[in-house]
């Protein structure tokens, strides 16, 4: 027996509608308040900007195309750094999780890196790799790689004992356990790692560009801030935030598909 499909749909729609209107309502209310405060001169629009100024500035930099080279520059650093982190971090994490000696050997240095704020090393990267893309890539890579390493290591070193016992009972060797148990079991951890890495990589991109260079959203933020163009700062922040949210939600949606594996159906 199933209850009326329409009823279920209406119930779901109501819930969804309520959550959107409440969540969106608060944002809209704050934006209106901000706009009013700025228009009525309660706050100085030069320092705090206003939603309408941000929209018009945003429109302007899009219309004259000046924002795109910054987006492209930041985007490329993000993509290269993120991919490099994935290509290095995923296999390395698996290696550490699978071989106890590898984790004993590299564990301490990874822990040291993991807890050091990577931005603190940016001056070194600039000395080593120059002011161009090299130093920025280094920072993005080092920001994004550790969540991936740590997540993959955790996944592969904490396999479900019931499953490995089944594999062993049916005569699986280490290699077969790796391919048939360890790898599939680590997929949800991989997605969690990728989500964390997204946030870290964005932080790395902006941090690297603020530090030095002549283009990119981070550079623009830094430049616009120094010249009191607060609306441009906000435009950049909105772009970065929007990109981060889209990435995060996509990975989260993908991750949900694996919930059933973990028994949180």
């Amino acid at each position: 027996m199933k209850s009326d499909k329409n009823k279920v749909f209406v119930r779901k729609f109501k819930q969804e509608f309520q959550s959107i209107t409440l969540g969106g309502g608060v944002i809209v209310a704050l934006l209106v308040l901000w706009e009013l405060a700025s228009n009525l001169q309660w706050i100085n629009p030069m320092f705090s900007s206003s939603p309408s100024r941000i929209v018009s500035s945003g429109w302007k930099v899009i219309a004259d195309g000046s924002i795109f080279k910054h987006i492209q520059s930041s985007g490329l650093i993000f993509i290269y750094g993120y991919l490099l982190a994935a290509v290095v971090g995923i296999p390395f994490g698996i290696l550490l999780g699978w071989f106890k000696k590898a984790s004993q050997a590299f564990g301490p240095i990874i822990a040291a890196f993991y807890t050091t704020p990577r931005i603190a090393m940016m001056p070194l990267f600039i000395i080593w790799f120059g002011l161009g893309i090299g130093s920025k890539l280094a920072l993005v890579f080092l920001s994004a790689v550790f969540p991936l390493i740590v997540n993959m290591q955790t996944a592969v070193s904490n396999l479900d004992k019931d499953l490995t016992r089944v594999a062993e009972a049916y005569g699986a060797n280490r290699r077969q356990i790796f391919w048939t148990i360890a790898l599939p079991e680590s997929v949800p951890f991989l997605l969690t790692g990728l989500r964390l890495a997204t946030g870290r990589a964005l932080l790395g991109v902006v941090g690297a560009e603020v530090f030095g260079g002549a283009e990119g959203l981070g550079y623009l933020i830094q430049y616009a801030g120094a010249t009191f163009q607060t609306d441009i700062v906000f435009v950049c922040v909105v772009i970065i935030a929007a990109f981060g949210i889209v990435m995060d939600r996509s990975l989260l949606a993908l991750n949900r598909r694996f919930d059933v594996w973990r028994g949180n159906d």
Partner: protein, 293 residues
Amino acid sequence: MAEAVVETNFQIATGSTPQFEIGHTNTEVFPKLSVNELVITFENLATGELTAAVDKVSIDIEPGEFVSIVGLSGCGKTSFLNAIAGLIKPNSGSIRVNGQPVSGPGHDRAVVFQKASLLPWRSVLNNIIYGLELRGVRKNEARKLAEKYIEMVHLKGFEHYYPHQLSGGMQQRVNLARALVCEPEILLLDEPFAALDAITREEMQNELLSLWEQTRKTVLMVTHQIDEAVLLSDRIIIFSARPAKIVEEVRVNLPRPRTPHLKDDAEFDYLAKKIWGQIHTAAGKKVNVEYEI
């Protein structure tokens, strides 16, 4: 057939095994499974403390025989089964299948675990053929082999379901089919229905009974369900509290083929009560029995 086995005390039976080995080269005279003076001791890796789980247990199982081991929880019966499966190394004693000593898991044995432990990312069909895949059988071929057993455990139509979409009873059927499709010499059942609710458990017991009547596999089952043991077994071995020793061996001479109606039989009742009594005396003989879950 199992019934043809001479009614002997197990000590005499195990004592005579070496003579078979010397006298004959024909493998048919060997018991299907022969366990001799098995000792299993666990070491607590942190404290170095030793705990004896199984103490010099010997069992012979004839081809086509269904043997159950019953005993209190934590008495070491699962360790005993795990040792036969090759999952833990015994400290001393020997395990032979068809007269050949075994060390480690092998294709001649298949285990049905208490928890279904299905791979959640594999469909029912792919879970069933997992054991075959591990030994290098091609997927297409393995799927063909599986068909017969899918039908046997009534999973037809569910081949492409995933474990989380199945009830506990159905998951356990997959678990059973996964073992059967390997066509092992000996089927090892480790409290296979203990995690199921009472109604599903009874259903599964009845199904295992009819399955066994069809296949006549050699089975060693560990359980603490006495009615389950009596219904299914040719022989029931009662383990003492830890460290496990054999207290008593009961031959179930109820006629085959059996049906679930056997449970209404007076003799069934008598046997079940007798085994209950023996488990209790076995526990009572020791002053400091630890009841563990």
